[in-house]
Amino acid sequence: MILQLATGGLLLGCIYGLVAMGLSLIYGVMGIVNFAHGAFVMLAMYASYWLYSLAGLDPVIGTPLVALLMFGFGIVVYRLIIGKVLRGPFLARLLVTFGMGIFFVNLAQFLWTPDYRMVQESISHGIIMLGPIFIELPKLVASIGSLVVAGLVYWFLRKTKTGLAIQAISIDRTAASLMGINLERLNAIAFGLGLACAGAAGALLASFYYIFPDVGTMFGLVALVAVALGGFGSTEGALVGAILIGIIETVGGFLVGPEYKYALIFLAYLLIVIVRPRGLMGWGAD
């Protein structure tokens, strides 16, 4: 039984992990904690849904498209909003993403009503068996997809010139700019990339998850906890943290009761962060 739950948690954790990676990237490069990250996941879920309803595009297949759309959207958001608060005081940087989150969640509610929606016939459906464990195929596809995207991002960050430049910024902003790296352009790209991660996760989730305006909030909070757990500044840490949370959620939820599963996640955060204020693997500064 525990194995069953742990596997479910692992799969869930991979999806959380992709969201968390995007969040971690944004923080690492420009020091902004994106409290609106969950809202962006939600927007991607709706985008996927509408592409499916209106154009018949399956969410899983449409993932690259949605990710691309979110990337572009991220660049726009960066240029219009984020880029302008970077030089401001700490409190402004903290609150601006809150404002964006509130705006987008209520925008969704205004445009599409609070009704729950669902993609009815995704190509990934059904259950398979792996040994003694039941695995829902959509979840498996989504989590494998998440790992693929995460892997792509990882490759991009470590093997391409732009990616390395982004890493350089997140390690030492001043040194990076002194070496001729165009901070503004790369900040925008990094932000776009972070949203693309959220977008890909949202598209993959759309294949099996309920879609409604507030759906992203929990994902955003979980991603936040995952990043803090793994340690701000470490993208691998975010993934590890996310998987840990996925498992705590499923196993813990079973042991303590499903209503308490989120309380459990937050409790885990508090415990770990208090024992190890830098998170499990982080070296991020304030």
Partner: protein
């Protein structure tokens, strides 16, 4: 020579305070419509909440986006005592302050080790956790919450039905009390130590400040006042439920108001509340009723615009205007000695 700046500022502050008290006392007599009075009550309440937040965040540097945890807890403590044991709400008022302060201290012990972002996120986590706990706790009504029984109207009962006026004066009295406390605190060792901790914990430590103790005091006081505000709202609305009392939006608003008005100053939360609360209440009344979410969309957009274009809030604008006036005065009359 030193300290003259402090004395002058203080005199101006005292005068402004007296003017404020007079205006505040007279306002509800001028604005008699029930809705207008409701807005005034909310302004006063959120001003108190903003000042309480300021103690932790503006002065001691610990930014909390989870004040709803203390707010709701206070509301529940007094309401539970009233509903189950018929404890007079005024006693419940004091009790909620004490219980919330104690809770804040308990939580503050581990939290005081966290800095900056980690602390803020921790408070979000705390806010969510406590909401979940109360949503599932049958003894206090779980998701349905508690309804406060209607008893005879009167100050002794902390309930008024025919007019909102007494509620306003209670809230305003709370505000005046908090302001008096903040003024005393600003001039005291505690206030200076808080500011030192905010500016640089290590330097403060090296100068003999027991930073853990003082952080806990800041959290406890902030939590206690916030809890008492929760009791006030419970007595005003006559019901408590998790979605109403532990709502995340309350935490965001409580943090937003001092930031908008200017954190780290006494006038900031009052200004911030005086402008933001009417906006939020009016937009909710005009646009929010259909559940369309337009009012909150505007709220969110407003926060973003404020952070981008006016990040230091109103006090920042005031400060810049004052600096420009001083610069202009200096340019005009270079033979005049500016106020040293």
């Amino acid at each position: 020579m030193g300290g003259r700046l402090m004395r002058d500022n203080r005199q101006t502050q005292t005068i402004m305070l007296i003017v404020f008290a007079v205006v505040g006392l007279a306002l509800p007599l001028v604005a008699r419509a029930r809705f207008a009075q409701h807005i005034l009550i909310m302004i006063a309440l959120y001003a108190v909440l903003g000042e309480a937040w300021n103690i932790m965040a503006g002065y001691a540097g610990m930014v909390s986006i989870g004040q709803a945890a203390f707010f709701g807890l206070g509301a529940y403590v007094s309401s539970f005592l009233f509903v189950e044991y018929s404890v007079n709400p005024w006693i419940g008022f004091i009790a909620s302050g004490l219980v919330t302060a104690a809770f804040g201290t308990l939580v503050g012990l581990p939290f005081s080790r966290l800095r900056g972002r980690y602390f803020a996120i921790g408070t979000i986590a705390l806010g969510q956790m406590i909401k979940v706990v109360f949503e599932n706790w049958q003894r206090v009504g779980a998701a349905t919450g508690l309804m406060l029984p209607l008893v005879g109207e009167g100050v002794a009962n902390f309930q008024f039905h025919t007019t909102k006026l007494p509620y306003y004066y209670i809230a305003f009295a709370m505000l005046l009390a908090v302001i008096a406390f903040m003024r005393a605190m600003e001039r005291s060792r505690m206030g200076y130590y808080f500011k030192a901790i905010r500016e640089n914990e290590d330097v403060a430590s090296g100068l003999g400040v027991n930073k853990t103790a003082y952080k806990l005091v800041a959290i406890a006081v902030s939590a206690g006042i916030t809890g008492m505000c929760g009791t006030f709202l419970a007595q005003y609305s006559l019901y408590v439920e998790p979605e109403y009392m532990f709502n995340h939006t309350i935490s965001v608003t409580i943090a937003l108001i001092p930031v908008f008005g200017g954190a780290g100053s006494i006038a900031g939360p009052i200004l911030g509340s005086a402008i933001l609360i009417p906006i939020s209440e009016l937009t909710r009344a005009w646009l929010g009723s259909g559940g369309t979410g337009i009012d909150l969309m505007l709220y969110g957009a407003f926060i973003v615009l404020m952070c981008v274009y006016e990040p230091e809030g109103l006090m920042g604008m005031v400060r810049r205007a004052r600096e420009k006036a001083i610069a202009r005065r200096e340019r005009r009359g270079s033979t005049q000695c500016p106020n040293l």
